[in-house]
Amino acid sequence: MAHFEKAKSIHDWLDQRLAIDKVNKVMQTEYWIPKNINFLWAMGMVLVITFMMLLVSGIFLLMYYQPNIATAFDSVNYTIMREVEFGWLWRHVHAVAASVVFLIIYIHMFTGIYYGSYKKGREMIWISGMLLFVAFSAEAFSGYMLPWGQMSYWAGMVITNLFSLGSLEMNGIVEWIRGDYVPAQAFLTRFFMLHVLLVPLAIMALIGIHFAALRIPHVNNQDGDEFDYDEESAKYLAGDTKGSKVIRFANDFLSKDLFVVAVYLIFFFYLVFWNYGFAMDPVNFDPADGLKTPAHIYPEWYFLWSYEILRPFSKDIGLMAFGFAQVIFVLLPFLDRSPNVAPANRRGPFAIWFWLMIVDLIALTAMGKLPPEGIFSTIGLYAAVTFIALWVALPFITMMEKKK
């Protein structure tokens, strides 16, 4: 048996059994963070906090929500919203957080793209991040089914139909996913299970992997500088805190992170109390009706860009373009052929690529919201083709880039 001594304190007792001092060093006081970073590096922590708010508000909603097609709509719109004290608060926090989390995820992603934080040892951070994006998309979609309003039903119909894979006509898969010919009770109960258990579990596991993937390469910095962490941290520990290029994660960097979180929370609760409307679609305040499609179906804003890539083409080509859009971001570390880790604006043609991509995604998002007619369809088509063309061009553009 391992040797234990009589403990001098509770701290010592725990340290002998759990090595808490060592863990604290590795994870916090000697986890080194570069000084040369800005508020965009706090987005990861903002995401953690937003996820925690989703979890807490979700737990409270769960106490009154009923996953039954006859009662689901009223359990949300009547019981939770009107009867339960502060029920509206949990619902608004949940809805606003579900929408804002995607805004932050996009900022976080494009920060990574701009500074080249997805290559030279940081590939697994990027890949686990994209898996988080997929898991969050599944979480948002399954949650959207639960109030069983018109948009829940018809979004459920359209999205599950994607799995027939176009002309392959695999209707068996669609019926298997739904447990019925159309979205009905079996569908609602299984998406309820996914939303409150399986997908959140996957998200928590993925957050763990995402953090583990950060530990060895460390976070990138504003200039893409590569430096010797042993040397810089030794300088810091020797007392030369000014000369060192790094600081401790806790409490030093954490205090900066939490400052940004505080600013974010003020904005967040401003939305929760005074401007929550954007996060809840008016059409979903009509109960689900399988015999009436709403005049105009569109997803929540964060899915509009990929939805617009589906829309202008024939069914099969649309599906292929949509599938392409869903997976292509994962491959970014391998499609970028340049070894440079530097901000986009110092990388020549890649800067143009970066800003074109942002403008194109905004155009796709705007067109996705407008009715599929006339000039909007045409702009949508060009934007969708541009999206694909940009990805095809990426390896060539980055190959031509000069080595820094």
């Binding site: 996913i177 005049a295 179906i297 589906l310 069914k315 599929p372």
Partner: protein, 174 residues
């Protein structure tokens, strides 16, 4: 060495047990998600065709899906080509379109514009003519014709009658 082969044997034995268990669980999990027998045993729906008016869309529900019934006007019939005629269901003097009212693109319910005499899908802008044939992308195929039987002036949905079988052979039901 003896130890090694013993370890190898135990490893393989575990692999075999785990493999059988994994396959078994996957089968159970897959079938748990299949539609229930009560869902599959969907009933039949009867529709009285005598009350249907020309150029006014009637929507019935069958297996949770909307069924479109459109009685054609003489003007419509005069303009029709062979492909369109082949999809008509004739009851006495009258011709009807009967089809599943879910867009063949991704399953929205197209709306009937009686003035323009066509179906328009609001989701992604697809269009169908009065015979349910796709005339504007993205839908890739006509609105499908469900199994039906004509019983006097009653339309029975869910049962394969003579007329349906003939249409199916001619390949116009999909």
């Amino acid at each position: 060495m003896e130890n090694n082969s013993r370890r190898g044997f135990m490893g393989k034995a575990f692999g075999a047990v785990a493999g059988v268990g994994a396959v078994g669980s996957l089968v159970a999990m897959k079938q748990t998600w299949d539609p229930l027998p009560s869902v599959k045993a969907a009933g039949f729906t009867n529709v009285d065709l005598t009350t249907v008016e020309a150029n006014v869309l009637v929507v019935e529900k069958w297996r949770g899906k909307p069924i479109f019934i459109l009685k054609k006007t003489p003007e419509m019939l005069a303009k029709q080509n062979d492909e369109q005629n082949a999809r008509d269901i004739k009851v006495g003097e009258d011709s009807y379109l009967v089809c599943i009212g879910l867009c063949t693109h991704l399953g929205c319910i197209p709306a009937y514009a009686s003035g323009e005499e066509k179906f328009k899908c609001a989701c992604h802008g697809g269009e169908f003519d009065t015979s349910g044939i796709d005339i504007l992308l993205p839908p890739p195929s006509p609105l499908p014709i469900p199994p039906f039987k004509i019983d006097g002036t009653t339309l029975v949905l869910g049962e394969e009658g003579e007329e349906y079988k003939k249409m199916k052979e001619a390949g116009v039901t999909v």
